[in-house]
Subunit: 212 residues, 2 copies
Amino acid sequence: MSDRNHLNGSEATSARTERGQQTRERILDSAARLFYVKGVGSTTLDDVRAASSTSKSQLYDHFPDKTTLIHAVIDVQSRSVLAREAGRLKGVRNLSGLRRWRDALVQSNMLHDGSYGCALGAMSSELSDNDERSREALAAAFRTWQQLLVETLTRLRDLGVLTSDFDPRKLGTGLLAALQGGYILAQNGHSPELMADALDMALDRIETFADR
Amino acid sequence: MSDRNHLNGSEATSARTERGQQTRERILDSAARLFYVKGVGSTTLDDVRAASSTSKSQLYDHFPDKTTLIHAVIDVQSRSVLAREAGRLKGVRNLSGLRRWRDALVQSNMLHDGSYGCALGAMSSELSDNDERSREALAAAFRTWQQLLVETLTRLRDLGVLTSDFDPRKLGTGLLAALQGGYILAQNGHSPELMADALDMALDRIETFADR
C-alpha cells in the first residue's frame, strides 16, 4: 500500500492493469483446465472462482457470464493447440517426420492413459449444437489445423516424397479425423494404443502414395 | 377409475406395472433426446420432467438421481446404435457392401447437416473422465462396435475379397476412429462431406488389400 502511494497516476493505472491481466489469466487458466477435465457443462462459475482463488466481483469484472468465459477459453485453447501443431508440422520433410508427429501425439496421450481427449474436439462435441459462436470459433480452429496438415502433405508431394496422385485436402481431413476419433477411443478405453492404431491407418494410407 | 374397480388384484398390479413401464420409457426417450441434442451436462432433471410430461415423484420413482438416468440412457443408446450397426454390417460380403454402409452413415448425418454427432461418442467425450461406470459401459459398446467391424473385415478376407495381408483388429479400430472423427468434424463444420472424406480414407486403405 505504501508503495502504491508513491506511484504517479499512470504508474498506478499500469500496475492495476497488470494485476487485472494476471487475474484474468489465472481465471482463464483454471477455467481451461476445469473445462478440459470436467467438461464445460459440469463446470460452474463457482468451481472456476474456487480454482482460481478469485472473488465473485473479480470474476464478474473479467467475465460477466459463463458464455463469455467459454469463448475466451476456446480462444486460448485454439491458440495453444494450433501453435503446438504448427511447431511440430512445419519441419516435417519426409515420412519419418510424419511418424514423429504421430509419436508425439501418442506419447502425450499416454501420459494420462488416454483421458481427457482433445481440448478442442471435446469442447466442439459439447458446444457445437448449443452455441453458434462457439461452434464457429472451433470450426475456424479445425480448418486451420486441417490446413496445417494439407500444407504438410503438399510439401511432401513438392519434395517428391509423395506422388501427385492424391488430393491433399481430402487426405488432410482424413488424417485429422483419424486423430480426433483416436482421441475418442483412447479416452473411452483408457487405451492410447487405440489412438496409435487410428493414426497408423491414416499414415499407412498416405504411404501408399510414397514415390518409391 | 371405474374400470380400475372392476379389476381383480393381479390385473390391477399388471395395469399399474404397464403404466409404470410406459412412463419409464417416456422418460428415457426424452432424456436420450435431450442428452443427444443439448448434452448431458446441460440437461437438468427439470428439463427431462418437462419434456416427458412427468411429475417429480414419477421421475424420482424410476430414476432417483441423474446418474441412474444417465446409465439407463447409455444402455438404451448402446443397444440402438449396435442393433443398427449389426443389421447394416451383417450382410456385407464385398467392397460395394462396405461402401453402402458408409453411404448410410453419411446420409443420416446429412439429415441434420452434421449436427449432434454420434450419440455414443458425444456421451463418451463428456462422461468418460467423470463417471467410471459410464466410461466402462460406453467402452463395452465401443468394443462391440469395433468387433462388428473386425468380423466384417474378417468375412471379406475369408471370402477372398481381401488378401490375408492385414490385421483386422487394427483396421477395425482405424475404421471406427475414422467414423468417430468424421462425426466430430461434420458436427463442428456443419459439413457431412467431412465425414465422407474421413470414411473414404479408411475405405481406400482397406481397398489397398483387395485381392485383384
